[in-house]
Symmetry: C2
Subunit: 347 residues, 2 copies
Amino acid sequence: MGSIGRTRQAARTPTMKEVARLAGVSTATVSRALERPELVSEETRRKVADAVASAGYKPNLLARNLRKMEARSIIVIVPDVSNPFFSEVIHGIETAAHRAGYSVLLGNTENDPARERAYGELIDDRRADGMILLNGRLPFRTRLAGAELPPLVMACEYLSDQDVPTVRIDNIEGARRAVMHLLGLGHRRIGHVTGPMWNVLSRDRLQGYRDTLIDHGLPYAEALVQPGDFSIGSGAAAGHALLSLPEPPTAIFAANDEMAMGVLRAARERGVAVPEALSLVGFDDIRFAAYVDPPLTTVAQPCRRIGEQAMAMLGALLSSEPPEERRVVLEAELVVRRSTAPAPAGR
Amino acid sequence: MGSIGRTRQAARTPTMKEVARLAGVSTATVSRALERPELVSEETRRKVADAVASAGYKPNLLARNLRKMEARSIIVIVPDVSNPFFSEVIHGIETAAHRAGYSVLLGNTENDPARERAYGELIDDRRADGMILLNGRLPFRTRLAGAELPPLVMACEYLSDQDVPTVRIDNIEGARRAVMHLLGLGHRRIGHVTGPMWNVLSRDRLQGYRDTLIDHGLPYAEALVQPGDFSIGSGAAAGHALLSLPEPPTAIFAANDEMAMGVLRAARERGVAVPEALSLVGFDDIRFAAYVDPPLTTVAQPCRRIGEQAMAMLGALLSSEPPEERRVVLEAELVVRRSTAPAPAGR
DNA sequence: CTGTTAGCGCCTTCAC
DNA sequence: GTGAAGGCGCTAACAG
């Protein structure tokens, strides 16, 4: 096609060739002047800079990426961006990625394995160099062994049967701290609202709950453990179930903050005062945990830091530095607010 | 370099050329078989499909994107992903983008103009085809006129002095509905907590508040209007200020839900019962508005739909269809919960 | 220090 | 219906 057919649209956007012409050098030199100026003489560097400015040139990253065979972006696979816990982690990832010169692609999956896989393929497609998983399932159809795995880091969740680089907290220990706090306040009948049992985090928190009770010579009573699914509604249902027991618990540990809020609602609906008649501990410390009434005592996950560290680890993987550790476990701290109080004297 | 030097790494990932060889056709044919199968004979199509399968071939989108000069991705510029309101909108955007075959790049800016610009440049860089803005400032150094604007849609916010495609609600009307509700309950002293005044949405909501009062023959009293910045803390401060007035309001309309929660806290701290002694209306209807105590009456923005529509509009822009309308205004509905009640009889 | 050359992997006329 | 050829814009050897 001759210059006649060229549309205004296409004519816009100067290319490196034009900059080279303007500066009176070769494109190779322009390229160098831009990416490794130390290889270019002071003077040439200036000529190029001027040409770039006067042409309003911006390198075409599509071309650069093809040439270098890298996308300079990573994909974050997450069940639900609008979940306050995940969005905090993503915030951390984004910060670290930006710092490292990577863009963040968002893959919201609603827990649909098909969508997980679709996003996982972005790596084969070469549109993403690496991937951070905020859920506990690898997004591949076939079971890959360690060496075949693409650059990938799991954040929050983890896999016990595979060696996948991971950043998370110790959920068993977190749960232990929650229960210890309640025991320290004199509670002996402590209920638990679990997350979904297909989730490792739920299982770990349950285990932390049970182990701590047993370690302290208390019985593990199935009746005091109600299943939930991390939603507020499920927490409310579980709360009602526990509070209508013949001998209701004086304290409840919920496996996340949303469910704790549900329990709170159930307690209110039944006229059970928190913390006077019922102490309540959540998990995660999402943004609103401090603003319910009463403010929620909870096990705080360092969400942002988890995100930042996960990205840092992925960055190391991508530059094929051996990441210093493939399994980082951060501290989760109990934040005591006003939803917990000493056990009622009666019992 | 000969085949000797080829690393295992590079050898992996079959290219279209190899598929062509396997199928005994040209690369052009493979390309066609993949993208426009109707141009290829039944039989060739099958041969190609077989070759693709046996080679485990996946097209390299980096190359495709360069060739077609499009990135198939859009960038979402947002002040804070972990803000529950924004994350809902993003959720909607992501859903629509996925459906339309676009990837979503996340640009979190913390309201830093430099970062806004950095992300805005992704379009010049050709790493993004279009952009959705969740804040009210164009991310360009120079003031661009209409025709020069890249494909861009503003969601939630808008610019009054420029013709930028926009999806949002009518904030003046939303505020009016909030105040009408309070008036209908018999309140006559109604306070308002504003958002930051550099924000159009804040100004609109304030205007809706004032206009409605005046339309109903009530005075607009500066003392009843307290500035906030959309944060819970600022809401609490404003709440204290309003409640310590000689003649405190019997109702408060806060320009967003977080600030309403802050007011709620202030009321609690001062022993003012909500809704008995103080009615409270928020704005946005974020996820947790329904779960504070008492559940918050609020003006609900259709966050997801705003996101989806914004992406739909951007999609139209990108395929250079003339979008049907460049300014969509969605309905915001008042959701009445339990934080509002008839005005105390006394006054 | 700089220019020449040769593609990255794909798509798209243009002929046949 | 198919193949040959050219090139998207850039960078990485390799000479000079």
